[in-house]
Symmetry: C2
């Protein structure tokens, strides 16, 4: 039993290219639209709808992950395993953060009687690069 697989059926060029785009270095934590524009350079006929459908499928299949960072747009991440993020409020760069262990919040929730199964942590601040730039410009 539990043969792992879930949705994946056919392998299409579109699916492969969408996965490639999310995993492409140079595009970090892309939005669906960014993936769309990237794939279109290679396959000009692909549609936005198809990009969304394939992104959903890749997430469902555990091949990538979706992170509702910021507010409105979903960001896609080539790393499928749970992890957190740091967002630079100057340059907008998003970096993966490896949190070693459950944070203080988990303890607080457990104390309140809740059972915590997962979490989403986003840190905001100024990244290493922007801190350096700021130092230089003053």
């Amino acid at each position: 039993m539990t043969h792992e697989r879930a949705s994946s059926r056919r392998t299409t060029r579109q699916l492969a290219l969408v996965l490639d785009a999310v995993q492409a270095s140079g595009i970090e934590h892309p939005t669906a639209d960014r993936v769309f524009r990237h794939v279109r350079r290679v396959l000009p006929t692909i549609s936005l709808g198809t990009v969304y459908r394939n992104l959903q499928r890749l997430v469902a299949d555990g091949r990538i992950s979706a992170a509702p960072l910021g507010a409105r747009v979903v960001r896609y991440d080539p790393t499928p395993t749970p992890h957190d993020h740091f967002v630079c409020q100057d340059c907008g760069r998003i970096e993966d953060i490896t949190v070693s262990r459950s944070s203080g919040g988990v303890r607080a929730a457990r104390r309140a009687g809740h059972e915590v199964s997962s979490h989403a942590l986003v840190l905001y601040g100024r990244c290493r690069t922007c801190r350096g730039a700021r130092r230089l410009s003053e």
Copy 2:
């Protein structure tokens, strides 16, 4: 200098009622639409646009806070100071969590050279009440 205040000019019935709705017990972390429907019971002519404008203003004035929980909708919170949330994946209830100390993620980010100024933490799981219900039904 820094005399705190920012936008607030005129006091309207609409503004007061929107604030009341967010602070009303029984409505927890309401969405803009929920606030709209609540206020409309008292002031049937209020418009959704006005609700959004007043919510924005209250947030800007530091009288309430906005939390981009889940994915699509913004939730409003009567507590204006920074804090975190627990979301029950069974009943949907959202509870404020008081995190005593900066989590492990902050340390990881600092180690990477970033300057962390704020964060957003959302814990997912099963709340105290739902855990009890589950126990009873099995």
